[in-house]
Amino acid sequence: MKSMNRFRTFVLGAATAALTAASVTAASAVEIEYWQYFFEARITAMEKLIENFEKANPDVTVKMTHFPYDSYRTKVAAAIPAGQGPDVVQLFYGWLNDYVEAKLIQPLPADAFPPEKIEAEFFPMVKAMRMGDNYWALPTAVRSLALFYNQRMFDDAGIDHPPTDLDELVEMAQKLTQKDGAGNLTAVGLTTGMTAQDHHWIREVLIRQYGGEPYLDDYKTVNYNNETGIEAFTFYNDLQAKHGVTKAAFMDEPQAAFKAGRAGMHIDGSFRIGALEGVRGLKWGVAELPAGPDGTRSNYASYWVNAITSKAEGEKLAAAVKFMEYLTSDEAMQIWLETVGELPAKPSAAMTEKNVNDPVYGPFIKGLEYARTTVFANESAQRQVMVDMMQRIELQGQPVAESVAQAATEEQKILDEYYKK
């Protein structure tokens, strides 16, 4: 009897232990889903981050799913309201309004992500992700602009340093420009093209350097149809119209001209580094964007952010918060820089001695300190306004001031339509 009892106790105990163990494994099997669009380097980087995160948090597993860029937005929009899909999702900073309005994402909990702490730790342009008292999304990495220059053309023209201000930019561009016997451009001093990055250069850099402020009222009101704005656009237009050091869309695309060694200088984003690395016969350098007439420096930064979706609740929410904390850590940012080539979003990760002194990344990272982020309602439509403005001047001879006024009206209309809701 006694042994029987003991056996019974043992069975009971074993069963209890097994049950407890089972519930523990159930609890440890919190699986959260992460979604991003397909871009090889980003996938590789994220796989590395997930691996590290899971090692540090054995009770959470992260499942990553990716989609082609074209169908990404639709899939996210369809999945989350249906209670499916990601707990943590990647989106372009410019989509934040749409995502918040469609209730696809929830604010980052203030105890884990206090706004004051974010504002102290991140580069200032991340402020665009704050709505009211909360931050809704945070980037791991950002992209900024810098000036690429062709070292060989610089050497041939006897130029020993990249331009530090706009006057020097024009002066050097003149030395670098080459023409054939009939006066046709065969190499430009500086590439231009509103269709590439120049509309960012004008908006956030040139207008500010001429003392203006491109938008007011949280980017809801256009503010460049004034003296400073017209001055900035005139400077840009003069590069081609007066100084003849460039031609819009020379060789079809600015980066193509630079890559082919037919452009002395070229303003572009940090995402161009990969495409220029290993181009045979091209020796290039990077410098900070030239300063304005009064020494003002400015830059434009854009970024992709991660956010927690409205679907995440309970322990999944807790796991998602942990994952977001890791994605915004210095360690994650350095891994992202080394794998994708995008710049860390926090000075503590970006401004390390190694990064700042890097001949390629350094100038981009220095630019982050004073970079701004335009809040677009519809980036491609707003870019089109700038493209059309320059073409009216170039192709139809419209005076600069008139064209700027027309563009301001058109862009204001886009903003009004978007924000009227």
Partner: protein, 319 residues
């Protein structure tokens, strides 16, 4: 009674069938009615396919054109807002004109060219197959690849073939894609060239189908070759011409690949001078995420296509 019912009784296995109502219904049909039933049974799959893949989205697009939707979130009804906005949008009217320019220039030029080529190619015996294949080759080439090659042809010095050629003889450059007046014809030219092969083949098939006896009779009567062309060849080619006019009109009204790929940096530019309706729809929908407005534009395109096709069929129909 017994005899009567016994007389009407069907063989045993059919009797079991007849208990089933549907089967009895089927059994009572005449042969031609049964054929119709079977025809529909076989048609069920394509009909289902069309309903799900074509008609449902089409109907949905009509509904969407009265709504506002940014792909995320819920749709909300907006009445005729999208159409009113369309009517007041100067870009839309510019695009509307461009679309018709593609049609008005593209269809006649491509038809005349392809007819002239087919007419003469029909008489060529030397390397006939090879020449025909050469004309057909562009039609088989991907429109995207072709558009990019032409885009580079059109560039200014130092990379554009045409302008390099002009410059090397001391002529001034021609702005092809970066001029508001030259851009549309420049984009249209490769589109016409690409479609030529197909039209030539169809015309040649039409020419071959005309009975030789008419031509023999004309020759006996000593009619001039000009009269033969106008009185015999072209009238008898009418079905071919109707087909090609409708087919190529729809093609030019829906032009997209060539324009988009030749102007990717500034789609439909410069200053919207090359933008066709389809590109405007694409831009509104997938860059602006303004699905309702894009649907309204689509409904307009659909209506234009319908009207143009009906008019052409009516005008060119055999009386």
């Amino acid at each position: 009674m017994r005899r009567a019912s016994g007389f009407a009784r069907a063989p045993r296995h059919l009797e079991v069938w007849q208990r089933n109502g549907a089967m009895r219904f089927y059994h009572n049909l005449t042969i031609s009615q049964k054929q119709i039933v079977w025809a529909w049974a076989f048609l069920a799959l394509p009909v289902l396919f069309y309903v799900v893949i074509r008609f449902y989205p089409t109907a949905n697009a009509f509904v969407l054109s009265f709504q506002e939707w940014n792909l995320l979130g819920a749709r909300s009804f907006a009445g005729f807002d999208n159409y009113v906005r369309l009517y007041n949008d100067p870009v839309f009217w510019k695009v509307f004109r461009n679309t018709f320019m593609y049609l008005i220039l593209g269809t006649p030029i491509s038809l005349v060219l392809s007819f002239v080529i087919a007419y003469h190619l029909d008489k060529v015996r030397f390397m006939h197959g090879t020449i025909r294949a050469l004309y057909f080759l562009p039609f088989m080439t991907s429109a995207v690849a072709m558009a990019w090659v032409w885009r580079w042809f059109y560039q200014p010095v130092p990379i554009g073939v045409f302008n390099n050629f002009l410059a090397s003889f001391g002529f001034s450059q021609i702005q092809f894609l970066s001029s508001t007046t030259n851009a549309l014809p420049s984009v249209l030219a490769p589109a016409i060239w690409a479609g030529l092969g197909f039209q030539v083949i169809i015309f040649m098939a039409g020419l071959r189908a005309i009975p030789q006896s008419y031509y023999e009779a004309a020759r006996i009567d000593g009619v001039s070759s000009w009269t033969v062309l106008w009185e015999i060849t072209i009238p008898l080619l009418k079905p071919t011409i109707v087909f090609l006019v409708v087919f190529s009109s729809i093609g030019f009204l829906r032009i997209f690949d060539q324009v988009y790929n030749m102007t990717t940096n500034n789609p439909g530019g410069p200053l919207n001078s090359t933008k066709p309706l389809v590109l405007l729809i694409y831009d509104t929908a997938f860059n602006g995420f303004n699905m309702g407005y894009a649907a309204a534009q689509t409904v307009v395109l659909f209506t234009i296509l319908l009207i143009v096709s009906l008019i052409q069929l009516r005008i060119l129909r055999d009386r």
